[in-house]
Symmetry: D2
Subunit: 379 residues, 4 copies
Amino acid sequence: MGMYGGGRDGFIGAIHRRAALMDSSIELVCGCFSYDAEISRMSAADYFVAQERVYATYEEMISCEAKLPEGERMDFIAIVTPNHLHFGPAKMALEAGFDVIMDKPITRSLEEALELREILYRTGRTLALTHTYTGYPAVKEMREQIAGGAIGKVRKIFVNYIQGWLHERVELIDGSNAGWRTDPSRSGKGGAMGDIGIHALNLAEYATGLKCVELCADLKATLAGRVLDDDGAALLRFDNGATGILTATQIATGEENDLSIRIYGERGGFKWRQEEPNTLIKLHPDRPAEYIRTGNGYMGFRAKCNTRTPGGHPEGFIEAFANIYRNFAATLSARIYGETVKPEWLDFPGIEEGVRGMQFIESTVESSAQGKWINWIEK
Amino acid sequence: MGMYGGGRDGFIGAIHRRAALMDSSIELVCGCFSYDAEISRMSAADYFVAQERVYATYEEMISCEAKLPEGERMDFIAIVTPNHLHFGPAKMALEAGFDVIMDKPITRSLEEALELREILYRTGRTLALTHTYTGYPAVKEMREQIAGGAIGKVRKIFVNYIQGWLHERVELIDGSNAGWRTDPSRSGKGGAMGDIGIHALNLAEYATGLKCVELCADLKATLAGRVLDDDGAALLRFDNGATGILTATQIATGEENDLSIRIYGERGGFKWRQEEPNTLIKLHPDRPAEYIRTGNGYMGFRAKCNTRTPGGHPEGFIEAFANIYRNFAATLSARIYGETVKPEWLDFPGIEEGVRGMQFIESTVESSAQGKWINWIEK
Amino acid sequence: MGMYGGGRDGFIGAIHRRAALMDSSIELVCGCFSYDAEISRMSAADYFVAQERVYATYEEMISCEAKLPEGERMDFIAIVTPNHLHFGPAKMALEAGFDVIMDKPITRSLEEALELREILYRTGRTLALTHTYTGYPAVKEMREQIAGGAIGKVRKIFVNYIQGWLHERVELIDGSNAGWRTDPSRSGKGGAMGDIGIHALNLAEYATGLKCVELCADLKATLAGRVLDDDGAALLRFDNGATGILTATQIATGEENDLSIRIYGERGGFKWRQEEPNTLIKLHPDRPAEYIRTGNGYMGFRAKCNTRTPGGHPEGFIEAFANIYRNFAATLSARIYGETVKPEWLDFPGIEEGVRGMQFIESTVESSAQGKWINWIEK
Amino acid sequence: MGMYGGGRDGFIGAIHRRAALMDSSIELVCGCFSYDAEISRMSAADYFVAQERVYATYEEMISCEAKLPEGERMDFIAIVTPNHLHFGPAKMALEAGFDVIMDKPITRSLEEALELREILYRTGRTLALTHTYTGYPAVKEMREQIAGGAIGKVRKIFVNYIQGWLHERVELIDGSNAGWRTDPSRSGKGGAMGDIGIHALNLAEYATGLKCVELCADLKATLAGRVLDDDGAALLRFDNGATGILTATQIATGEENDLSIRIYGERGGFKWRQEEPNTLIKLHPDRPAEYIRTGNGYMGFRAKCNTRTPGGHPEGFIEAFANIYRNFAATLSARIYGETVKPEWLDFPGIEEGVRGMQFIESTVESSAQGKWINWIEK
C-alpha cells in the first residue's frame, strides 16, 4: 500500500493506517504523506517507510512505483486527502494499473464521479470507498437479517447523523479540519450533506437493500459567514414505497458523532447507534425487544466475518474501518494469486456507492434551493 | 369534578381519574361515563360516585348539575371522549358556567376550535387541555432553562413521536381504541398527526418558547384500507429562524410510546425521552454532558412545583397527567376563594395550544397533499 | 383508612396517601398526622379529613374510632411513623380489631416483631408491610417467570441498594429525615441495613422464592460521629445452595436510590434497576437478551394485575406503592363483603417479611461484629 | 517482537498481535506460535514472519535470537500462553537479555511470581503485564482525577467482573479455552478469581491508587465436576480505610464480559463499565452527574496519551490492549536510543501488579477455605 495524504497529526490518515495494518494483511511501503516535504519525510520515519519511497507528489509516486518490479511496487494506493484531491490521483492510479481505496465523498462533483466510474470500468481495477459505518458487524447483521425477511417489507427508515463540532466557526482556526470542509472550492457543493449526509444515505441503503428515489430537502448555512450547509434534513421515499427521514447536522452543540438508524418493517424493526456500535436492537410486535450483541455465537455469517473479538470485548471505529481494508485486501490478494474471490470479501463500498453519494449531494442542494420534491433516480 | 366519558375499561378515562384524585385536591362527584347506561352505573359504583348523579347524556349532566347549589354541584367537567364528542359538551359546559378540562385534540376541526375559543373568551371560564407530556417536570426544567438562556438562541429541534400499535389493522378488532382514531368522521382530518403529532408540536413549542411558522409535510396512510395518515413527518421552520423535524408515526412495529425531543442552541443542547422521563440530558460544547434527574435539590422552581418524590424514586405518566389537573385545580380554587392565582399554577395547556394543534393538523394535511412548504402562521 | 403520621411536608406519608387514594378504592377518614396538633389539623384540612376525626394520639384515634359504628369507622390504620412508633399503634390497632398497613422495618427490634406476630395470629387480622419495591410489575414478572422455571435453578444473586444522601452528616440539620434514622433509640440496631438493606433482602427473596440461610457481613459507620452503620455488605448463601452478595450503602456520594438486582440461573438470568423500573432484562445463554417492558400484552398475569398503563407510559414509585395498598384493600374488601380473596390480591408483604427483616438486621450486625459467617435460619 | 504462543485461531494471541501492530511501533519478527509445528509455520505465513525464524520451542527461540546481531534480533518476547507456560520462558528471556510482555496472571503460583521478580530486579530488564482493562483511557482519566482529589478521600469501591461462559461445562468440549483455565495443573490455584478476579483487583487499585489490605472471600466451584472456583466474591478493606466488594463469576448465564467499577469518595463518585468503555460517569453530591466521554478536548493528559480517535468514534478492547504495547514499546525504544523515558510511557502494569495478583488469588482461596478475614498485606 502507498498512501496519498495521511501525514502525522492528520485525523483520518492515522485511522486509515491503523485500519490497514491491524490485520497483518497489508504493508505500508510508500507514500506522499503531505504537501510539506519535511512532514512527509518525518511521517515516513514514524511509519517505518523507507525514505527513498517518500514522494513529493502523487504523480511522482504513481509513476515511480509503476516502474518498480511486480511484488515490490505498491499494490494499491490509499487516497486520504480532502475532496478536491481525490479525482486526480484516483484517475492516474487506475490508469497506471493500481487499485484504489479512497475516502468519501468519492470526488468533488458528480461529473468527476461519473468520469471516474468510466475509467474504473475501462481499466478493470478494484476501487473501495471508506464508508466506515457500514463496516460495523452490527450493521452487517442488520442487512443480512433484513435481506432474509426478518422484519418483512421495510416501511419506514429514520437515519440521523448529528454532530456538534461546527456549532462555532472553527474553520477560522488555522489548521482546523473544518477549513476545507466549509470551502466549496475544496469540498464541493455539499457541506454537512457531503461530509456526513452521504454516510447516512449509505447506511440506510446498505442496511435495507433499498434505493432512495425521491427526496425533499431543507439545507441551511446556519452560522453567518458560511457558504455551505452545516445543517440539513430530507424527507425520503424509497423504491419499495417506504418513507424515511435523513438528517445531517454539524451544529448540534455538544454532540460528538451520533449516527443512528431505525428501520421498521411489517413484522419488526431494528435500531442501531454508532456511538454504541456493538449493540443492535431488534423489535418485535408481540414479544420483547432483543439486544443483539456483536461477538456472540448467534450472530450471522456476515457479522462474524467482520468481527475480531468475542462478545463483551468492544470493537470500535478503527475495527469497522479495518473491515473495509481487510475485505478489499482479501479481494486483491485473491485476484493476485488467482484464487476465487469469496462473496464475503466483496462486502465493501465502491464506485456505485460513490456515484450515488454525489447524486445525493447534488439532489439535496437542488431540492432545498427549489423547496420541492425531486425524483433523483434518473440522475 | 364531573366526567364525560371514562367508563370502566377505558384507557384514558382511568388515567384522567387517577391523575385527578392522586393529590387530594379534586373529588369526583358526578358523571356520564358511557353511552351504555349500565356501564355508566357500574363505573359510578367503582368510583364511589352516587348513582343519582350518574347521567345519561352530557346535556343532562350539565343542565342538572347547573341547578344544584353552589358548593354542591360539580366545579368543572372533564371531557375524555373521542374527538367528535369534544366540542358539544365543552361549549355547553362553558356556557352553563362550568370550567372545562379536556383531552386533545381540542375538537374535530379547526373551525370548531376557533368557535370554542370565542365561547371561552366570551364566558371568561378556564379551559385546560391534557397535553400530558409537557406536564413532566423534566420538560418544565428544560423550558425554564432555555427561557433563561442556558443554551443561547435555539437553532435546531428534533421531535419524534414513534409508536407501533397501528402496524397492523387493529381498528378492525371490535372495541379497539383504534376504531375511532382511524375514522375521519370521529377523529377529524388527522390520523397519527392528530393523535400524536400535536403532542410533539406542543412539546417542541412549550420547551423552546418558539412558534413554528412554516412546514413541509409528508403524510401517508401506509396500511391498505386506511384513510387517515398512520405515518408522517414534517420539516419545520420556527419564528426565530431555527429549523426542525417532527415525526409522528404509529406503524413503527415494536415501538411503544417513544416521544423524544432534542434541542440545540448556540451554547448547548437538551435531550429528553418520555419513556425515561426522569432524566434530562444537557449538552455542553466544551465539557461533559450533564444528566439532570428529577427530584433533586438542584432542579429549578417550575420542575420542583411539579414533582412529588425525591431523586431516584421514579415518577411517570400518571404524575405528569396529575400535574395538569393539580395546576388547573389550584387555579380554579384560587378563583373560587378569591385568592391570587400564582403563575406556576397557570402552567397548563389551554385554548391557544388547542387551536394551534388544529392548525397544525390541517396544515400538515394540506402541505402533504400539495408537496410543498406552507406558511401557517396566518391560519 | 386512618393515618398515624403523614403530616404535611413528610416524605413517606405523602407517598402513602397518594398510593392509597390513586385507585379510588380507599378513603382517608381520620388521622393523627403529627405530634404537633396544629400541623395535624392543617394536614387534615389539606386532605379533606373532617376536623372532628383528627386525633392527638394513636391511642385516642384507635379507641375513638373503635366506638364508631361499623361502616363509619376506619377500616384499617396506616402507620407511617419512625420505627420506634410502629409496635405500639400496631399492637393496639390489631387488638382493637383493626387491620394494619405499616412502613418498614416492622418494628424497632426483633423481639417486638416476634411479639407482633403472635398478636396478629391471635387476632386474625390482616397486616401489610410496605416493602415498596416488590410492588413493581417488573419484579412480579421476574418472580412469576423464575417460579415457572424460566432460568432453571437459581445459582447467583446480586442485590445492591446504593444511596448517597448520608455522605454528609445531614442528620445534624434540623428536621432532616436522617435524624431518627441515625439514632439507635428510634431506629433500632440497624442503620443503612435496617433502612434499605431489608428492602434488598426482601427483593432478593421475593423475586427468587428462596430464603437466605447464612451470611457474612461487614458494616461500618463511615462518618465520624455516627453510631449506626451507614454502609455495609454481606455475602449470602441461600437455601437451595445459591450464593449472593447484598449491599446497602447510604454514603455513595451522588447516588439517588439505586436499588438493583441481578439473578442468574442454570439457563438464564434477570436484571432489574429500580430507577428505570419499567424495563426487565432477561438473559439467555445462546440468544440475545430480551428487554421486557411493563404494560405490554406479553407480560404475565401477576405483572398485569399490578399495571395501570400501556407500554411506554411509565409507571413509577407511587404506582408500586399503590399496588400494595390496592391488593391489601382488595383483600380486606373481600373479607368484609364475604367474597373469596383472590390469590393475586394476597400479593403483598406482611408479618413474615417483617420478622425476616428484623432477623436480617440483627444477624448482619452480629456477623459484622464477630467477623464471621452466621447461620440465621434458626433465629 | 517475538511471540510465544498466539497461533492462528487462538483468541488472546490474535489480540496481542493486533494490539502490537496497530500503531506502527512494533514489528513481529519471529515466534514459536504453537506446539504443533505445522500450525506454527502456517501462522508465521499469515503474519508475514519469515519461516527461518519460526521456532519449535521457546528455548530454541530465545537462544537462537540471542545469537543474532543487535538490531536484527527480536527486542522483546510476548508470552501469550496458558499460565503454566509463563514462568519458564519469562525467566529464560530475561536472563538472555530480552524484555518481556506477558499475559496475566503472571505465573501459576505466588512462589514463581516472587522468583520472577527477583530475576527481573537482577537482570534490570523491563516487564509488562497485559492487564488490559487499565489500558482504557476512561480508566486513566478516573485515576488521574481521583489522584488529583476530584472526589476527596475514597470511601467505597464496588468492582464486579461478571461473565457467563462457564455456566455450562464447556471445558469438556475439545479445544475450548476453558480446558486449561479449569485445570489446576495448568491454571494454578485460582479459577475465576485467577482468570478475571485479578483484573478486577488491578482495576480497583489502579483507579484509586489504594491497596487492598484485608479481605473475606467466598469462592465456589458451582458446577459439579469442577475443582477450581467458577464464582466468588470478597469483602475488601483498603489501606486508607475504604471498604469494597469484589466479584468474579463466570457462571452468570447470558453475561458476556461485564467488568464494572463504582468508586465513591467524600465529594463525588465515578462509574465505569467495560462493555461501554468510552463513557465515564462522574457523580456529584449537589449537581447533575457528568458523562465524560473519551476523545474530547476536556479529557486529562493521561487519557489523551492513550486515545486514537476523536469523541464519538468508539475505541475498544484492542485499542486498550494496544495502549499497553505502545507504552511498553515507547519505554524500550527510549532506553535503546538513550532517550529519556517519559512518565506517561511507564503507564503499564508490571511485576508488582503481577505479584499482587498472585497474592490475591492465594489469599482469596485461603480466606474462603477458612471462612474468615485475612490480612494479606504481609504476604
